[in-house]
Symmetry: C2
Subunit: 361 residues, 2 copies
């Protein structure tokens, strides 16, 4: 059984071989850890910087046992890790962080919003949907249009559709595949904010300054951080983040997406129990970035400072946009991150660029 804090030379196991796993691996290496990646992809970008790779499906029990034996703590880069995987890893003696509870809550939008409201983090009004009748009842209560989303899976705008009216209910349900769903009231929001927060094994909670996010076609285009927020709003955001992390007995970094409404109210949209695209600005904007912070937290190390050193505009490089690497590398204020992915197909997250400017002035 692993003993915390983990000494350098210990092994961090990561489920997932994408860019988040890659940046976690780089951060872990800085602190002297080895990394073992479990991924079904033979040519994943995280494996190329890791000490060890286990190429197998996530639910392969032999692979999970192998990872559990190799790793002193196991974490993940995506939230849709099946519950049975965490159970098996735990049965094989692995410490999994963040734990099963955070995953379970984050995987189901109804459970997530129910949990959030229960711990004092307000969300939009919603209705659980298992039938067209539920949608109709929801429209009665929430008003039209309302947003219909699958309860599980779905991200970057996939698995969701607007229900324009009662007459659209059945067709909308068809559009998302007639699966368990959630109907959400429309929120007249002024802007989307997010906060990256972390909780250590000793219960300490820290939060980076919130960022302001802009999406295009349902995919994150850019985050500007620190966002301009009043002291009152900042306090509210930090309180919400701390409540979520503490209520889940969470260990690691979490991304919490928030809506600031036209009327000034703050709602939680959702949380991701992992490092988060809207936290990439910390890679160049803070001394300890979200990836090192996550490794520190799950390894039982003291958390690092979250003070911003610069104002950062983080922009995702999607698909062929990454072909601009040479021009970006020549921009004095642009810090380029490229993920080592081969195929720049449209919309694929190939890298990002952090453009820095001084905090004052």
């Amino acid at each position: 059984m692993a003993r915390f804090p983990l000494a350098p030379g210990s092994t961090i196991g990561v489920l997932g071989g994408g860019q988040l796993g890659r940046m976690l691996a780089l951060a872990a290496a800085r602190l002297g850890f080895d990394v073992a990646i479990l991924t079904p992809e033979v040519q994943s970008c995280a494996v190329r910087v890791a000490a060890r790779a286990i190429i197998a499906n996530y639910d392969d029990p032999v692979a999970l046992e192998s990872l559990a034996r190799a790793a002193d703590v196991v974490t993940f880069e995506f939230e849709n890790v099946p519950a049975v995987v965490v159970e098996q890893l735990t049965a094989f003696g692995a410490q999994v962080a963040p734990g099963a509870r955070a995953l379970a809550v984050a995987q189901d939008r109804v459970d997530e919003k129910t949990f959030l409201n229960g711990c004092g983090a307000p969300t939009v009004d919603f209705q659980a949907v298992d039938s067209v009748a539920d949608i109709l009842a929801g429209l009665d209560r929430l008003g039209a249009p309302a947003l219909l989303k699958t309860r599980r899976e779905g991200y970057d705008g996939r698995g969701q559709t607007w229900v324009e009216s009662h007459a659209d209910a059945a067709a909308a349900y068809e559009r998302i595949g007639v699966v368990p769903a959630i109907l959400e009231a429309r929120a007249a929001f002024r802007r989307e904010l997010s906060v990256i927060a972390a909780r250590g094994r000793d219960g300490e909670v820290v939060a980076y300054p919130p960022g302001e996010n802009h999406h295009e076609n349902g995919v994150l285009r850019r985050t500007r951080a620190p966002a301009q927020v009043t002291a009152a709003l900042l306090a509210q955001i930090e309180t919400i983040a701390a409540r979520i992390l503490t209520s889940l007995d969470y260990v690691g970094v979490m991304g919490v997406e928030l809506f600031e409404l036209e009327d000034g109210r703050l709602l939680v949209n959702e949380f991701a129990p992992r490092v988060h695209n809207t936290g990439h600005w910390t890679l160049d904007g803070c001394e300890v970035d979200q990836f090192e912070q996550h490794i520190r937290a799950i390894a039982g190390w003291p958390l690092g400072p979250t003070t911003p050193l610069a104002f950062v505009e983080m922009e995702n490089l999607l698909g062929p946009e990454a072909h601009d690497w040479l021009a970006l590398a020549g921009e004095a204020e642009a810090r380029v991150w490229l993920y080592g992915k081969g195929d720049a197909r449209p919309g694929r997250k190939m890298g990002h660029v952090n453009r820095l400017r001084p905090l004052k002035g």
Copy 2:
């Protein structure tokens, strides 16, 4: 034949599996490159973060051919790469940077000082030594005591001894092994400075602000940067660095060690044709650190900014000092780097810590 600038996804070959190779690999990964490490060590710390490892002796022709085929450019983390290795790599079609000339000059202290003086970079007076008679003649000209060093090899204070007097000449020659040597005049120096500079494939030269170095038992203990220097001294240092890099038609990062004498004169002690321990402060003190800068240079990318963001005191963690990782991780202003080496034997460079404070105030 590789075409520059190298596109992301290209492979950077590195001779050497130590901490410099490891940090080069991490920097290369950030820019989307793969790394292939050639090292004779089965458990090297650089291999653990590289996409590919070739475990063989540096002069193994099969390994060199394999590296030349795998890598679009080949670099090294140590300066004592045998000339024949560079010749073989080149014969197998590899681009090697920095090139054979810089290595040859850096490997021989007499050639190095002759070159430096020839390009307008002043050094201490010296005498080439192939016999006790040469030492005696050198003492006549340079005065006693004088410093006797092997012409080749030797670092961190090894392979050198003081010659106290004419009577000590024969014994001193024995102490360094009766090998080709150099006798250096004693310099009354006030402090040791160093500058990390880089030259791109287009001939552009940039330099980081100089650091001030402190050694203990011949090994670097700490570097403080930016060092306090007058504008005139800074200009002199930058001119010297540019002359060295340009004269060698150098591509990559170089560390240049300098002595500031009591009388205010500046002498070059030596240069290292590679990333350098006295440049580790840039990892947390600059947006683009020396490792990314080296990768940019050898890949034919534009060089990055060298502006300091903070005042940094870099301290090496030698041997068991690395066992203090937990206390160091808890220091808010300390950024910890651990190299993933297993055996913390006394004096071994296990990691370093960068302590930051604001530039002004």
